[in-house]
Symmetry: C2
Subunit: 223 residues, 2 copies
């Protein structure tokens, strides 16, 4: 049995290998700190089954298992990796606290309206109110991005050196891919590109893309 941690990820990611599923955050964090890991692929069905519910109370990916520890919630997993290894949190206590604040900001404040927009795309696309609602949601997202853009200014990262806060924020902002919302904030678009240019990001992206390509190949053979 390997001593490396094991994470879960979608066997066939609904994002078609674009690295938007939440395992990407954990892969990226592990690559930043140089920690090898194993991946257990799960189907949507398996994810909701009792065995996986014991790992993740809300039946989602990713989970993180290392020794006796079983964790869920991508933010908590990234923080766990950051606490176990050097490289994702500043060395000083105050810098660490600020980086953790940005982790919560990424997930609680910025991601929430973005996820809401995605949900509307899944659940309300055929409803008569879809276009009007989309405008409301876009305005809320723009409110958050305007604040974030003002804060970032021409800095490279949100609060000093690259941290787990930036890692989460970049993955959150990437969820706007395919919309034209981010383009109105050039410094945020550059910020995302800066994250994507990190070698650890590239390795994580390639790893999740390989999973999708393999599942896609299986599909093609079956057809």
């Amino acid at each position: 049995m390997s001593a490396d941690p094991t994470i879960t990820a979608f066997r066939r990611s609904p994002d078609r290998g674009r690295g938007l599923a939440r395992d990407m955050r954990v892969r990226w964090a592990l690559e930043e700190v140089g920690q090898p890991y194993d991946v257990r692929l799960v189907s949507f069905f398996e994810m909701k089954e009792a065995q996986d519910r014991a790992r993740h109370p809300f039946g989602q990916i990713p989970t993180f298992e290392a020794g006796d520890l079983v964790l869920f919630e991508s933010g908590a997993i990234v923080l766990e990796i950051a606490r176990r290894h050097l490289g994702l949190l500043p060395a000083d206590a105050e810098g660490q606290s600020r980086a953790i604040a940005w982790m919560f900001a990424a997930i609680g404040t910025v991601e929430a309206p973005i996820v809401e927009r995605e949900q509307a795309g899944y659940l309300e696309r055929d409803r008569p109110w879809f276009a009007d609602r989309q405008s409301l949601l876009d305005a809320r997202i723009r409110g958050r991005l305007g604040d974030l853009s003002n804060w970032l200014g021409d800095a490279a990262w949100l609060d000093g050196p690259f941290s787990a806060g930036d890692l989460l924020m970049v993955t959150v902002l990437r969820r706007l891919e395919g919309t034209n919302i981010l383009e109105a904030y050039p410094n945020l678009a550059t910020y995302v590109a800066r994250g994507e240019a990190r070698p650890a990001y590239a390795r994580a992206f390639a790893a999740q893309k390989a999973v999708f390509d393999a599942s896609h190949k299986e599909d093609s053979h079956a057809n």
Copy 2:
């Protein structure tokens, strides 16, 4: 100058003193660990001004200031308090990691659809789609609560002894007050009541209520 930390809270909370604003979480955490604190009351206008933006990039309450550290995001502030004092995180490393996972679950997974429902109440009440949307949102909230209820079972707290994860989850579930959604999950209703019965909760609730009562009295005098 006081050496106690200073938090920000609404001068006139829109919840009319029901303890649903996010300063309640921070007050409760400080009361649990026995740390006295000062409060700086801000109006909605002041919160959005440049001086407060320097403290909170998204122009919200609460913030937390202690020495040179300025923090925002209620989840991060509660975690900071939990890291500085005994009483809000288990003593063992794995228990701590699990408690932090529940903090992220409270804010990222459970609170998000609840906030969405509140937002719809503010922004979409006069729209023709309001009732239909409300049903969709209620179903999403019920999905999360069903998972949470199954996880909790007949345990007192989510993962061992009371932790910062429970503190956040109780405050998140309290946001459903005034709906009948929580009542369908008796173990969750009891869980919330269990949190509210803690002496530290009662002290925090009284402190925020006193702020509202004072502002209300000012209003009465002005009329």
